[in-house]
């Protein structure tokens, strides 16, 4: 593949940090590609991959309903476009959502990733934490995990591969073209997760062209 187009869903959250992490990774891998902020349906058809950044999942979901943006992205993901959901993005992609304190939430979501996610599992902001984690990409790699009011993945369905656990809590998964983490790789120097995501984009591109 000589050129690709990565989108960052630009409704709410740390959009710029994700844009620069992707740019940094593209440069490091010596690829050619562009990163676009996506907040309407105009450029969706041209995308080779999409990142849903961290932020507030209720806000991102509510504002993504406008102009049926979420629905159109859903179709594109079902067609095989690689997608990377981070924290709020993970919540948005998942099938079943509970809040640790409130219980089941009726928030809007995309219903694509066969996992049960527990919001705010690791506690409030004071309990947000950093820790080294090990993640299967596809070799076992050690990297810094930044967990900010993070969810955990409580259960996974059959087609879901567990990439990382922390003290028996699942924190990263992959289901075919969907990659999701409950921590924030965009807040560290390490671009390993973005490089892995770009390799997913490349594989998908090679298969379809």
């Amino acid at each position: 593949m000589n050129y690709f187009n990565v989108g960052v869903l630009s409704i709410q959250g740390d959009i710029a940090e994700n844009v620069s992490a992707v740019q940094k990774s593209i440069k490091k891998l010596n690829y050619r590609g562009i990163v676009n902020e996506i907040n309407n349906d105009k450029h969706i058809s041209k995308l080779d991959g999409l990142i849903i950044p961290g932020g507030e999942s209720t806000t991102i979901a509510k504002l993504s309903m406008i102009d049926k943006l979420l629905k159109k992205l859903q179709n594109k993901i079902n067609d095989g476009m690689p997608i990377f959901g981070i924290c709020a993005g993970l919540i948005l992609l998942s099938k079943y959502i509970n809040d640790k304190k409130i219980g089941p939430t009726n928030q809007l979501h995309m219903d694509l990733l066969d996992i049960e996610v527990e919001r705010n599992y690791f506690g409030r902001q004071k309990d947000s934490f950093e820790s080294y984690i090990e993640i299967l990409l596809p070799k076992m790699i050690k990297t810094k995990g930044i967990f900010i009011r993070s969810p955990r993945i409580k259960k996974v369905g059959n087609g879901v591969q567990i990439l990382s656990k922390l003290n028996n809590n699942i924190i990263a998964v992959r289901q075919n073209n969907i990659l999701a983490t409950s921590f924030h790789p965009e807040l560290t120097h390490d671009t390993i997760l973005y490089e892995y995501f770009i390799s997913m984009i490349q594989q998908h591109h090679d298969q379809t062209h």
């Binding site: 709410q12 740390d14 409130i102 947000s128 900010i148």
Partner: protein, 321 residues
């Protein structure tokens, strides 16, 4: 990556828990500033009750800020404004899933400790409340919870960051429904940042030392800010925002998000206005969407508003040292 400019190594707020695997660390600057980064492009709404917190969450607010009285009522009632009742804060924390912030008085270390123990997600050391210490702000590095502080200029912002603030909001003039001061303050910050950039680009870095003396901040923080070309932490607009167009206007001036105080719950169409403000903030770059948002509210329902030149109490002047 986020900027760690001004970070102090191993400050008291950092807590390390040893585990049999790797250490787990809480309260680092990455975590505190990172929390603020997750709020970007969003609206934080002032609330005084569980009911208002629900309206805010349903409207798409990224967080709520709990107060005893909305700023315009603080202005009306007078007396001493203090932190909100713990019970109300806890009740709100138990019913919404979005982050909950609360205000403490400027310099009031113990109100801040009480809020941290209550487990609020962020503490606002706020000029809306009556200051407790007119010389010192809270030394925020001693806390695991992150703080947001107000500013009217770049110098004020950097002084707060040196004290450990993880987020900044331009002050505006709270409780007035008048956006003029909020605009003045972000313009001033932007002007000073532009000046800083031109100094560093000119290669005459030694001029920065004079500016650091003027600003009453360390050379190191000023130099790093100049290299970044922006505030090293997330910056929201606040103080007097009362319509969707107000919010979009401030976003266009380079603010990362919006705090709305009295603007929403002192209007007669709070529910519509709350959502409309979120919509206009998200899509500030799209005039069609801002028009659509503004059309969801009725100007006849907006809070009356005050001329900031005739105010007896200028909250923005509190804690400027």
């Amino acid at each position: 990556m986020i900027s760690l400019c001004g970070d102090i190594n191993n400050h008291k707020g950092v807590i390390t828990r040893k585990t049999n695997l790797d250490d787990v660390v809480c309260g680092t600057t990455t975590l505190k500033r990172g929390f603020a980064h997750m709020l970007k492009n969003g609206v934080v709404m002032d609330v005084t009750s569980v009911e208002q917190a629900h309206i805010a969450e349903d409207a798409g607010a990224v967080a709520v800020m709990v107060l005893d009285k909305l700023p315009s009522d603080v202005r009306k009632v007078g007396g001493v404004a203090r932190t909100a009742s713990i019970k109300i804060i806890s009740d709100i924390m138990n019913t919404v899933t979005i982050p909950v912030m609360a205000k403490c008085r400027i310099g009031h270390v113990y109100e801040a400790h009480v809020l941290e123990k209550t487990n609020v997600d962020m503490i606002d050391e706020s000029e809306v409340l009556t200051p407790a210490d007119e010389t010192h702000h809270i030394w925020k590095w001693n806390f695991t919870a992150p703080f947001v502080n107000g500013c009217r200029s770049l110098a004020e912002a950097l002084r707060r960051i040196e004290e450990g603030a993880s987020m900044i909001r331009t002050k505006g003039e709270p409780g007035t429904g008048n956006v003029v001061e909020a605009v003045r303050h972000i313009n001033k910050v932007n002007y000073e940042l532009a000046m800083l950039k031109s100094i560093i680009n000119s290669g005459n870095e030694h001029i920065l030392i004079n500016l650091a003396r003027d600003f009453q901040v360390s050379y190191n923080v000023l130099e790093k800010t100049a290299q970044l070309g922006r505030l090293p932490v997330v910056n929201f607009a606040a103080g007097g925002i009362s319509t969707p167009a107000d919010a979009a206007y401030l976003m266009s001036l380079g603010c990362d998000g919006i705090f709305v105080g009295s603007g929403i719950f002192k209007s007669s169409d709070a529910k519509e206005r709350a959502y409309a403000t979120v919509l206009a903030t998200t899509f500030w770059n799209n005039f069609d969407k801002v028009q659509e948002a503004q059309n969801l509210i009725d100007e006849k329902e907006s809070m009356l508003g005050l001329d900031t030149k005739e105010l007896e109490l200028q909250m923005q002047k509190r804690g400027s040292n």
